[in-house]
Symmetry: C2
Subunit: 227 residues, 2 copies
Amino acid sequence: MTGESVVNIHTIAIAGGTGKEGKGLAYRWAKAGYRVIIGSRQLEKAMSAANDLNQILPDEVRVEGMVNQDAAREADVVVLTVPFSAHIPTLEGLKGELREKILVDVTVPLVPPKVTKVQMPPAGSAALEAKQVLGEDARIVSAFQNISYEHLLNDEAITCDVLVTGTDKEARSIVLKLTKDAGMTGWDAGPIENSVVLEGMTSILIGINKQFGSHDAGIQITGVPRD
Amino acid sequence: MTGESVVNIHTIAIAGGTGKEGKGLAYRWAKAGYRVIIGSRQLEKAMSAANDLNQILPDEVRVEGMVNQDAAREADVVVLTVPFSAHIPTLEGLKGELREKILVDVTVPLVPPKVTKVQMPPAGSAALEAKQVLGEDARIVSAFQNISYEHLLNDEAITCDVLVTGTDKEARSIVLKLTKDAGMTGWDAGPIENSVVLEGMTSILIGINKQFGSHDAGIQITGVPRD
């Protein structure tokens, strides 16, 4: 909720965007006026997911489907929504396209079957693993791990806040703007090392959902002014 | 908010309890009817802190002051509220008294000057470091890291929830009961490995407080029924 982006973001690619997380975010950003490209390893899957979204989007709003590399090449910001098992291979495939661009890593390092237990990779978190793959100069933001994605597609209000960590303040500001444009409340949660909290919170929320038979457990920041 | 303790807790020791965290928790639990002992390395400091609290507690409620080891020996539950620099030495001094008892570790591994950056010890978190010191069979709960302690002493409502992780479900249930008795809303946040999220969240909340010039940033769980 602090800071305004000074950089103009026009095109967002969602690599590995054929799942519910990627489609939910694509839907919100397309409606907010961004050009959105769904990426996948297979072009047909990307186009099929784009087609699904275009059926529910207003007529004047279209999303596109491309293979991940092409989607990333077209974009100002690349959002990564893949299962943890595909995290490193997808990043290695995108490395050449990500120079000078902001990567938003939504990956949660869940290790089945104990998905309610925080189990970080040796790098410390998925986002820090991305930094290892992409190099010290990479601009990486970690965000959106705790959202119930069904609500995004249903135009429902999101009661879960978005904590945004990242390698630099400008990158965090840009993603805070994207968060707001997607209809959510975001907070600057500091350096990329703090991503372990966001990723690990997902395991805690899955555990709370199991206890209550729900799908919607989230978090909100209290004690400071909301928008 | 789930689970009811089956174990009767009578006496709570707060080791390193002369700071604001320890005094705040001691105040709430004393008012709730528990016998509470403030512990310190120095008897005079413990008695002075107990005296401070007794001035603001109702006449019929008294807390006691003892050296840490004596306080722990008397207690059913030992709560540890020390600066991170004193974490390992204090645990080593208490190890003999903690067998068969539940340790509630409130320690946050803040590393000045970058206290807004999550920096965990090699064990993975302060609570996991406690497990290394106390051994595999130790019963350890990690909780209360995100509370603004001034509110505890002022009888104000606490808008920050308490996430409770721990080595076993019964220990978590006992601490959830203590949380409720202190006037706060607690949630079973799973195994002790999840303590990294609770401890790391403190750095994120300190960062948000700095952005807004506040002292009260906290978190609440959303999307599931509250009490």
